[in-house]
Amino acid sequence: MRSWLFTVVVIVAGAALFAVSRFIQNDYFFFAGYVVLQYIVLSTAWNILGGYCGYVNFGTAALFAIGAYTSVTIHKLLVTSRIYPVSIPELIIIAGVVSAIVGLGIGYLTLRLRGAFFSIATLALAVVIQTFITNWDYVGGSRGAYVIRPQTAPLVGSYIQYLFLVMLVLAVLSIAVARLIERSRLGYGFATIRDDEIAAEASGVPTLRLKLIATTLSGALMGMAGAPLPYYVGYLDPASGFNLAYAVNSIAMPVIGGTTTWIGPLIGAVLLGTLQQWVTVTISSAVSLLIVGLLLVGFVIVAPNGLVGLMRPLFERRHR
C-alpha cells in the first residue's frame, strides 16, 4: 500500500475510533485510553531508533519528561502570566522541537558507542537530565508543579475527551511517520545500520547522519507524547515525569509486538497497555509492571521477533 493511502487509512481509523468513543459516557474509558494511546506514541518513537536502527535507548523517560516540563515552563511563562493562552497543540509542537534538539544532542554524545555501552550512556544521560530538573526551582524542583487545566475544552467540551483526541491524533501521526520511514530510503538505511554498520558504510550509507536523524525523530515524538501530561495529571513532579515505567514499557511493547515493523509497537502497546490498565484497576499498579517484566523476559527468550515474528511464517504460508 502506498504511503499516502496508508496515511489516509490510519486517519480514517483514528476518526472512526473517536466517533465510536463519543457514545461512551464513562470518563474512565478516556483516562485509560489516553494512557494506551500515549504508549502507542512512545513505543513507536522508541522503535525508530531501537527497532529500525538496533540502538536500544533507555532514555525514553527523559525525553518524555522534557516534553512534559516544556509544557510546564511555557504554561508558567505565558499562561500563568496571562501573556498568551497557549493551546495544547502549540505546546506539543514546542515540546517536539525542544525534545528533537535534546535527542540530537544525546545522539551526538552517544552514537559513537554501540551495544550495551550506548544503552548505558542513554540511561546515564536520563539521570543527568532528571537531576537537572529536580534542582530547577522554576518548574517546581523536587516539589513538582501544578498545572490548572481549563474547565472546558475546544471541540469536544470535556477536557479528558479533548486530551484523548489530542493523543489519538499524535498516535495517528506517529504510526504514519513510522510507516513512511519504513518504506523509504531512510528506512532501508536504518535497516542496514541494524544489520551491519560496517557493511552499511561500505555500501555508501552515511550511518552517523542517519542515526542522528533517528535520535532526533524519536526524541521529537517522545517529547510530543509528554507535552499533554501536565494537563492530564494536573500535577507534575520528577518522580512521575521520569517514571521508570515509561522506559520499561517503551522497550517492552515493541519487543513484545515486534521491532522491525510499524505494527509491532502498535500491537504491543494496545495489548500491554490495555492489560496494564485492567490489572491496575483490578489488582494493583505494581503488579501491572511485574507483568510487563515477566512478559518481556518471556518474549526475549521464546519469541525475540515478537508477535509479528511469530505470525509472519503463517502469513507467508497463506500467500505462497
Partner: protein, 247 residues
C-alpha cells in the same frame, strides 16, 4: 605518449595498533583497468591495508589518493561514493533484507550520489536484476541471505560492491573456503567485472587463483611491501620465497 594517471596512489602509509606496526610505509599505485593481486602471509597487513584504503581504519601517516582526490580523513561511505568499493573477507550481508534489497542499498546511497540524481523505482529494479543475473542469483532475488550457500554469499558480496558502480573493486579473500569449481566461478565473475572496465585488487591466499587473475603482484610481509611486479617474477623473488617458505 602520455602516461596514464593512476587510479589509486598509496604513498608511505603506516598504521599501528598500540605497539604493533601493522603497516610500515607501504606505497603502491594502481592504474585504471588493472588487475592487481595482493598477497602475503597471515598477519602481513593485507586486511589492514584494505581497511585503510576503504576508510574503515585511518592511516596514521602517508596519503591515499583515489582518482586524483586525497581521501585521507574521509569516511568509508564517502570513499564508496567516490567509486571505491570492497567485499569482505567474511561475508557481511544485510541479514534482514532480501537479496534485491541488499543490492538496492548501494544503488540508492552511493551510485545515485555519483550520478547526481536519484534512480527511479524502475531503474533500481532493472539494475538490481542486472546485478543478480551477473552473479547468477536472479532466481533467489526475494530470498534472505540466510538461504544462500557459501559461494552464493560471496557472489552477493561482489554484487553488492558492484551496486555502488565502482571504479575500483577490492575483493578481500573472496574465494576463502570455496571448492575448486566455486573458485573458478568467482574468477570468471571477476574477469567479467574487469572486462566492464572495473579495476580490481584481489587479496587472496589461493596462489593458483591469484596467479591466473593478476597482471601485477604486490607482496606484503610484516606490514612492509617486499615485492611489486610481474607475478611470474615476483614468486621467484628470493625474499618472497623466504617469506612464504622460511629460510
Amino acid at each position: 605518449m602520455t602516461a596514464v594517471a593512476p587510479l589509486l596512489e598509496v604513498d608511505d602509509v603506516s598504521k599501528r595498533f598500540g605497539g604493533f606496526v601493522a603497516l610500515d610505509g607501504v606505497s603502491l599505485t594502481v592504474t585504471p583497468g588493472e588487475r592487481l593481486g595482493l598477497i602475503g602471509p597471515n598477519g602481513s597487513g593485507k586486511s589492514t591495508l584494505v581497511n585503510c584504503l576503504c576508510g574503515a581504519l585511518h592511516n596514521e601517516s602517508g596519503t591515499v589518493r583515489f582518482d586524483g582526490t586525497n581521501v585521507n580523513g574521509m569516511t568509508a561511505h564517502q570513499r564508496t561514493r567516490l567509486g571505491m568499493a570492497r567485499s569482505f573477507q567474511l561475508p557481511r550481508p544485510f541479514t534482514s533484507l532480501s537479496l534485491v534489497d541488499n543490492l538496492r542499498i548501494p544503488l540508492i546511497y552511493s551510485a545515485n550520489v555519483r550520478r547526481g540524481s536519484h534512480f527511479t523505482a524502475a531503474e533500481i529494479e532493472e539494475r538490481c536484476g542486472e546485478l543478480l543475473r551477473l552473479v547468477g542469483l536472479d532466481a533467489k532475488s526475494r530470498r534472505l541471505p540466510r538461504d544462500l550457500t557459501q559461494v552464493e554469499m560471496r557472489k552477493l558480496e561482489l554484487a553488492r560492491a558492484m551496486g555502488a558502480d565502482p571504479k575500483l573493486l577490492i575483493a578481500d579473500e573472496a574465494m576463502a573456503g570455496l571448492s575448486h569449481s566455486e573458485i573458478e566461478d568467482i574468477l570468471k565473475l571477476l574477469d567479467r567485472l574487469n572486462e566492464h572496465g572495473i579495476t580490481i585488487i584481489l587479496i587472496e591466499h589461493i596462489m593458483r587463483a591469484v596467479m591466473s587473475f593478476s597482471q601485477r603482484l604486490v607482496v606484503l610481509v610484516s606490514g612492509k611491501k617486499i615485492a611489486d611486479g610481474n607475478p611470474q617474477d615476483v614468486i621467484r623473488d628470493p625474499e618472497v620465497e623466504r617469506a612464504y617458505l622460511g629460510q
